[in-house]
Symmetry: C2
Subunit: 308 residues, 2 copies
C-alpha cells in the first residue's frame, strides 16, 4: 500500500501542477439544461451528479486530484450521498486522487464511526471499494482522540487526512486569532503544532518525508504562512482560498516547501462555474463544458510555478 503523501507528490509531479479542483455544486448555478426537472431530491441529486461527471471529465487530464464537498450532496439526503460515493468512484476511474471534504469532528467513540464511513473500505458487498476517498478533511478541535481513528484508518489504507488549522473564511479569525486574554500563541498556531505532533510518528511518514496527517492552511499574510510552513515541516498542506475566495498564486507560495513539495492548492467556484464568466462565454459560447476545461487549464498553469 503506497503512502498517501508519496501518491500525492507523484500525482502532482505527473500533472506538473499542484492544482486541485473542488466540487461544491449548488443546484441554482448548474447549467439550465441540467436543473430543469430537479424538483425532487432524487432528480436534483441526479442533475448534480451529471454536472459533476462532466466536470471530472473536463479536469481529469489537467489536474492531479479533486476535492468533493459532502455538504453539497447531503442537501439531497440519501440520494445525494449515493451520488457523492459514486462520483468518488468515477473520479478514481479517471485516475484522479480524491479528497472528501467532510470536516467531521467529534469525540473518539463517534469519530471511529465517522472514520469507518468516510475513510475505510467497508465490509459490505454492496459498497464499491473505489467509492472511498484517498483523504478527508477533519476538524481537530476535540483533540487527538477525535482524529486518531481517522489517522489509523489512513495509515492502514494508504490514505490521508487534512485537519483544519487555518480556515479560509475571514469569519473564522474570530476564533482562530484567539490567544486567551494576555496569551501569546493563537489557536491556529496551537492547532498547527498539534497536527504536526499527531503526524510525526515514523510509521506515518512517507518516503517523501511528509506525513499522511496534513493540514488545511489558508494563505493569509506571507510571514505568518511562512512561519506555519517552518513549524510544520512534515505536514502536507491543503490550501483553500485561491480564486473565488481571493488568494493569488503568489500568496500560496509560502505554503510550499523549498523544493516545491508539501502543498496542493484548491479552487472550486472559479473553475466549476467558469461558464458564468463573460470572458469565457465570449470565447466558448454556451459550451459550458469547454468553459470548465479552459478554467481548469488556466488554474493549473497559474499555480504550476509553485512546485518548481
Amino acid at each position: 500500500m503506497e503512502h498517501f503523501a508519496d501518491r500525492l507528490t507523484a500525482a502532482v509531479a505527473a500533472r506538473a501542477t499542484p492544482a486541485i479542483v473542488g466540487l461544491d455544486p449548488v443546484l441554482e448555478r448548474l447549467p439550465a439544461e441540467l436543473r430543469r426537472h430537479a424538483n425532487t431530491a432524487s432528480a436534483a441529486a441526479e442533475a448534480t451528479e451529471e454536472f459533476c461527471r462532466v466536470v471530472l471529465d473536463a479536469v481529469a487530464p489537467v489536474v492531479p486530484g479533486v476535492k468533493i464537498n459532502s455538504a453539497f450532496f447531503e442537501v439531497f439526503h440519501q440520494a445525494g450521498i449515493a451520488a457523492y460515493y459514486r462520483l468518488i468512484a468515477y473520479a478514481h476511474s479517471l485516475g484522479l486522487l480524491v479528497i472528501g471534504d467532510i470536516k467531521r469532528g467529534d469525540i473518539g467513540s463517534t469519530a471511529r464511526l465517522y472514520a469507518a464511513a468516510h475513510l475505510v473500505e467497508p465490509p459490505f458487498s454492496d459498497v464499491d471499494p473505489a467509492s472511498i476517498p484517498d483523504a478527508v478533511t477533519l476538524a481537530g478541535y476535540l483533540g487527538e482522540s477525535a482524529v486518531r481513528p481517522f489517522i489509523e484508518a489512513a495509515k492502514a489504507g494508504g490514505r490521508g487526512v487534512f485537519i483544519l488549522v487555518r480556515p479560509s473564511d475571514p469569519g473564522a479569525d474570530e476564533v482562530h486569532e484567539f490567544a486567551g486574554f494576555g496569551g501569546s500563541v493563537r489557536l491556529y498556531e496551537m492547532m498547527g503544532r498539534l497536527v504536526e505532533r499527531w503526524g510525526r510518528r515514523s510509521d506515518l511518514i512517507g518516503h517523501c518525508g511528509l506525513s499522511c496527517v496534513g493540514a488545511v492552511v489558508a494563505p493569509k499574510d506571507l510571514t505568518s504562512t511562512a512561519t506555519l510552513r517552518v513549524q510544520l515541516p512534515r505536514t502536507p498542506f491543503l490550501v483553500p482560498g485561491y480564486g473565488a475566495q481571493g488568494a493569488s498564486a503568489a500568496e500560496c507560495r509560502p505554503c510550499f516547501r523549498r523544493d516545491g513539495t508539501g502543498a496542493v492548492v484548491n479552487a472550486s467556484r472559479s473553475v466549476i462555474y467558469a461558464y458564468e464568466h463573460p470572458e469565457m462565454v465570449q470565447q466558448y459560447g454556451a459550451d459550458w463544458r469547454a468553459c470548465i476545461a479552459a478554467a481548469a487549464r488556466a488554474f493549473a498553469a497559474d499555480v504550476a510555478p509553485l512546485i518548481q
Copy 2:
C-alpha cells in the same frame, strides 16, 4: 411556529424529566437476532433501524426527546442516511423531540448547504418534512459565519442548535483548556461567551427566556460548570457525559438554572445497551426491549430531581 426553547421546556415539563436518550447504535452490539444477516450496508442499516424503532417505542412514554447521532448511520452510506431521516420522522410520530447529532462546522458558504440538509424542510416532494430534526449539534470553531445559516434556519422553523462549548471526552481538554501561552481565558470559556452572544438577539429568545442557540456543555468540576451557567444565562445546555461516560446526576445539577429549566441531560450507551448489563438480564432475561425500557425509566427518574 412555537419557539424551540419553549417547546423543549414544555416537553421536559410534560414528562417531568430532562432526560434525553441518545441513539448511537453500533452493529456489533445489537441483539444477535437483529444483526444475523447484516452483511450488506442495506441490511445493516435495516437492522440498525429496526433496533432504533424498538428503542424509540420503549423510551417515548418516558422521555421528552432523543438525540440521533448521524455518524452511526453514515457508516452505512446512503442506506444509513435513509434510515436516519426515517427514524427522525418515526420519533416525531411518537411525540418525541429530536436532536440530530451532526457536529458539522464549516465556512459560511458550505454551512448554508449543511443547514439546508439538516435543519430545513427541503423543497422536494420526495422528502418527508417530519424527517427534519427539531435541533442539531454544531461546531462553532470557524466563527459566527459558520453557524449563522443554522441559526437563521432554526429561527425560521421553530428549531434550535446546540454548539459545542465543552465536550465530554477528556481528550478534548488538550484543546479546550488552551489559553494561549500566558493567557487567562480558556477556549471553552471563549466559545461559551460567543455562543451566548450569537444567541442573545431578541428575536432568537423564546417566552421562557432561553435562546434557540444552545450549547453542548459536559459537566466537569462543579465550580467551572456553575460559572458557565452564570456566564450563559440565555443559552440552553445539552449535557453529555452522563451514564456510560461517567457523570452523575449531581454533577449535572450546575448545568440547570435555579428554576430547574435551561438544560437537558443525554444518556446513550447506558440506556440503549441496557440488555448487556447482568442485573438487567437477571431481571428481564432475553427481553432486551424490556431492559431498554427499564433503563430509560431509571435514567429519567435519576435526573428528574434536577428540574425541581
